[in-house]
């Protein structure tokens, strides 16, 4: 038993290493769509001098969508009584990329069957507990922040078919339709998402027209909810107005109250130029 565990682990580490290689290798060739290390897209000339995307030379993010549907697939079968808009309009999603092709998004679609083969270990009981496994993919699997300790892996992952997620009834949910899973708990946001208020769509604005929908995991990492919203590098500031050498005045916030507020600002500036606070910050505002 111990031996087999070790075998599993070493094999898994190997797989993860290969995966990591591809993820990093791919990062330069493509630009990220919304978040760094989440979904990405390669720039392709779709027709004469027209590109599917244009990317930022500063941040490496997509700056402009020429072809909003590049690399997408139909969102698929949505149950009529729950799902709303994309019944009446062609909705597409970007599929979770196959491991075989060597590409991956941030979560790394990583079919269990790839390592485990057909012998995916079936848990002895459905009781939630901490599992000392898969820490390569889910760093904090021992202390899963998501749900603040109230849920565990098989709350979301299908116990029997690990290449799928699971519904309340144990039905299969595709990794391309994570909203069905997340909507189990986050109902309010799910409703907003269906109405197009939460989340993101690109394509054609009109009702009934084709849109690409971003699904939950294209922006949020369900394993690592803190920070739910990883800080990213902003695009460069506008040029200063003519006649101005700097923008110090807008950071000074000199007031007329007679307080030595100016000194406070000089000492520990809460200014725009200081971004170190931001790097490991949870941006609550962006989360939900």
């Amino acid at each position: 038993m111990k031996f087999s565990n070790n075998t599993y682990r070493s094999f898994f580490v190997l797989c993860a290493a290969i995966l990591a290689f591809f993820v990093i290798g791919k990062a330069d060739a493509a630009c990220f769509e919304c978040r760094e290390n989440y979904t990405s897209v390669e720039q392709v000339e779709v027709s004469d001098e027209l590109f599917n995307v244009k990317c930022s030379s500063k941040t490496g993010g997509v700056l402009w969508w020429g072809d909003p549907f590049y690399g997408t697939v139909p969102m698929g079968d949505m149950p009529e009584n729950i799902e709303a808009d994309y019944l009446s309009e062609p909705a597409v999603v970007k599929p979770r990329v196959d491991y075989e092709e060597g590409t991956s998004d941030h979560l790394g679609y990583f079919p269990c069957s790839n390592c485990h083969g057909v012998f995916v270990p079936t848990p002895r009981s459905s009781k939630d507990r901490k599992i000392n496994a898969h820490q390569d993919v889910v760093e904090n699997s021992l202390e899963l922040k998501h749900g603040r300790g109230a849920i565990w892996c098989l709350e979301c992952h299908n116990a029997k078919k690990r290449d799928y997620l699971t519904s309340h009834r144990g039905d299969l949910i595709s990794f391309n339709q994570t909203q069905k899973l997340c909507g189990k708990c986050h109902g309010q946001i799910y409703r907003d998402w269906r109405d197009g208020i939460h989340g993101k769509r690109i394509g054609y604005w009109d009702k009934g027209a084709k849109k690409r929908w971003w699904t939950c995991t294209e922006c949020h990492n369900p394993h690592d909810v803190e920070p739910a919203f990883k800080a990213l590098v902003p695009e460069s500031a506008p040029h200063l107005p003519r006649g101005m050498d700097n923008a110090d005045h807008e950071r000074l916030h000199v007031d007329h109250s007679g307080l030595s507020h100016g000194d406070v600002t000089d000492g520990e500036p809460t200014t725009a130029s200081h971004g170190e606070a931001a790097t490991d910050t949870t941006a609550e505002s962006g989360a939900h």
Binding site: C34, D48, E49, L50, S56, T59, G61, L63, W64, W65, P68, D85, D192, D195, G196, I197, H198, G199, K200, R201, I202, G203, Y204, W205, D206, K207, A209, F229, A231, L232, V233, P234, E235, S236, A237, P238, H239, L240, A247, E250, H253, D255, H256, S257, L259, T270, T271, A272, S273, H274, G275, E276, A277, A278, T279, T281, A283, S285, G286, H288
Partner: protein, 353 residues
């Protein structure tokens, strides 16, 4: 040139006349001088206009003489657009199309921005520039401005400070935390440049043209070059603008920009899919602003800023369609309009979850 030569000849003739017959009185003298001066001036003007280099020669007189776009007949519009396509294609070495799709019936464009979600990454700003062919530098034009607003610092330190300084018997009349700028739009920072956004102590407030239903800029325009189209977009006929900048003065949202010099738009960055009212390259001395990407939205596409927003804070749609994203937001969320007290009735709404 022929007319110029004629004028010169005439001038010479008059000179000869002057030299042979000495003037005997002030009035005739004056008349002659006036004649000569006029001729010389006309010759000079002619030379200036005709004797110009290749780039200048591309300048189409027909374009200069064209009418206010709205008053053109369909044929004239077509001619204007074709003329522009030709000029742009030559200038930018690519096949530039100038669309002139009119507003559709039953469509009133609206926009909603989730101020709670915005992380201040400015990708909308750059997307807009990529899409809309703004001048890249000297002077740089960006239609969207994102303002960083501080969350404010409130501390024990200021509690018994203020004015008058130490309270004494009569109490403080204005407290030590006055002038703390949390939530004050006018005290925001425009040129923030942190390593990463969002920052812990700030939130962000993007602004652009609000496409007002009661636009102050339209009212003040002396030549009606800017006007509200039926689908609610306030557009500008760049070929009709006289550059008086009244509209810049009148806009409470600082949405309008001026082409101070000849715009700097690199050929390779030029977006060849343009609209007459939208992102076609501008000329110096005219005003421009956000048009809700009229070249895209009138063809059904989302605006460039909506598509690029990494947090999905930007929403766009048809205000007349009860199922549109914008209408759903108006139904479900608390919205506000910026500077609502000015009664400009923007069709650009801010909301929070």
């Amino acid at each position: 040139m022929k007319t110029d030569e004629k004028k010169e000849n005439k001038e010479n003739l008059e000179k000869e006349e002057n030299s042979c017959c000495a003037p005997d009185n002030g009035r005739r003298d004056f008349l002659k001088t006036a004649g000569v001066t006029t001729a010389a001036a006309l010759t000079g003007a002619g030379a200036l206009l005709s004797g110009s280099d290749e780039a200048e020669a591309k300048f189409h007189w027909a374009e200069w003489f064209q009418k206010n776009y709205r008053l053109m007949t369909d044929e004239e519009k077509e001619a204007a657009v074709t003329r522009l396509e030709k000029r742009y294609s030559e200038e930018y070495d690519k096949n530039v199309t100038v669309d002139r799709t009119e507003a559709k019936d039953g469509v009133l464009f609206g926009y909603a921005l989730n101020i709670q979600k915005c992380i201040g990454c400015r990708r909308c700003v750059k997307a807009c520039v990529t899409e809309n062919n703004q001048s890249r530098e000297n002077t740089q034009i960006e239609w969207i401005r994102v303002i960083r607003m501080e969350k404010g610092e409130f501390s024990q330190e200021f509690m018994d400070q203020g004015s008058p300084q130490i309270s004494g018997k009569h109490g403080i009349q204005s407290g030590g935390h006055r002038h703390k700028q949390a939530g004050v739009v006018l005290e925001g920072q425009h040129y923030y440049e942190p390593e990463k956004v969002p920052e812990k102590d700030a939130f962000y407030f993007p602004m652009q043209c609000m496409q007002c239903e009661n636009p102050p800029c339209v009212k003040v325009c002396p030549v009606r070059t800017t006007y509200r189209d039926p689908d609610g977009i306030v557009v500008i006929d760049y070929n009709w603008c006289i550059g008086c900048r009244m509209c810049i003065g009148a806009c409470p949202y600082w949405a309008r920009r001026f082409n101070w010099g000849e715009p700097n738009l690199p050929k390779e960055e030029m977006n060849p899919k343009t609209h007459y009212m939208g992102n076609r390259p501008r000329m110096k001395g005219v005003v421009e602003k956000c048009t809700f990407c009229v070249q895209r939205t009138r063809k059904g596409r989302y605006t460039a800023c909506v598509e690029v927003c990494p947090v999905g804070a930007r929403k766009f749609g048809n205000l007349l369609d009860p199922n549109s994203e914008v209408r759903k937001i108006l139904d479900k969320k608390r919205v506000f309009r910026l500077k609502a007290e000015l009664e400009t009735y923007p069709k650009f709404f801010y909301f929070m979850d």
